[in-house]
Symmetry: C2
DNA sequence: CGCCTATTGCGACGGATTCTCAATAGATAA
DNA sequence: TTATCTATTGAGAATCCGTCGCAATAGGCG
């Protein structure tokens, strides 16, 4: 269990808010923190069931929201359709390059973005909570394989 | 008709690709370019019908995609659910601040973002097509009305 | 242990978009 | 102008991605 401290934080968060520590919550938590990739609700449900856990789709969705609210998990829109989830690495923010040909996702660290975000919000009287930033395009491999950049 | 040149471009685009110039396409085009705001497919359908045009929902969706592909219209995810569309102002890129309390959308011009995007893509061997950048938070008005920033 | 109530599972429901397919109507050439 | 070819349309069913309602279950506390 390489994510023991986060697990303890999660359990403490639950207790602090009068929420219950259920096996479903722990299994879901462990699954997200075991994965080092972007994973969607359906994939999480499938892997949990494959590992013998008994959990329903609604519970997966409900508890993903709960973990997002508690700040342990991030919910990102990578493609056009569903949300993906990833556990948060504290202190190391990143955003995503998404290949529209092969769906590959590359993370990039963006020190300048936080500063820019602060400045823009200051200028407009906004109080920022979080941002979504994705760059869509073609990855290196797809370019070499001859995919055409942009419209047809 | 204050968008005559774009209209001609659209028609030429269609002809160049062996696509037909239909009244439905022109009506939809005119509606998007008449609006100076972010509008979704359902709203477009409703206003077209209210103006006496005969057009179906499927046609609206199909032709929105077509206009996005031809580079005249941008498709942005402002809330969590549906897409919104806006006509492109060439040479003046912008992104969006979205208030999570009142759904207000404020546009901001971001000269630094293009440069950053280019640099990040160069470093990762990516060929960028476009990006999605939204900052979620609380607008000035909602802050004054006492909305609580972030969690709970 | 026993109560209280938060949480769960199941299946129905919902919004947004896409699909299917027969009918319609632009474009082109004679 | 008319015939022909086929892209496009309309209508509604289907799909995708979640969310909801509610009865059954089971954590947490005294
Ligand atoms: Mn990531
Ligand atoms: Mn805009
Ligand atoms: Zn690729
Ligand atoms: Zn607001």
């Amino acid at each position: 269990m390489p994510h023991q401290p986060e697990r303890k934080t999660f359990i403490q968060n639950l207790r602090d808010h009068g929420q219950r520590v259920t096996p479903e919550r722990l299994a879901l938590f462990d699954e997200i923190f075991a994965q080092h990739r972007h994973i969607d609700a359906e994939e999480l449900l499938t892997s949990l069931l494959a590992k013998g856990h008994r959990i329903s789709r609604a519970t997966v969705y409900r508890n993903l929201d709960l973990m997002v609210d508690s700040g342990l998990v991030r919910k990102v829109r990578l493609g056009q359709r569903r949300f993906h989830f990833e556990h948060i690495h504290p202190g190391q923010n990143h955003d995503h390059l998404v290949c529209s040909e092969c769906d590959r996702v590359v993370e990039f660290v963006s020190p300048a973005i936080s500063a820019m975000q602060r400045e823009i919000c200051r200028a407009h009287g906004f109080s920022p909570d979080h941002h979504q930033f994705q760059i869509l395009g073609l990855c290196h491999d797809c370019l070499e394989k001859g995919a055409v950049p942009s419209g047809t």
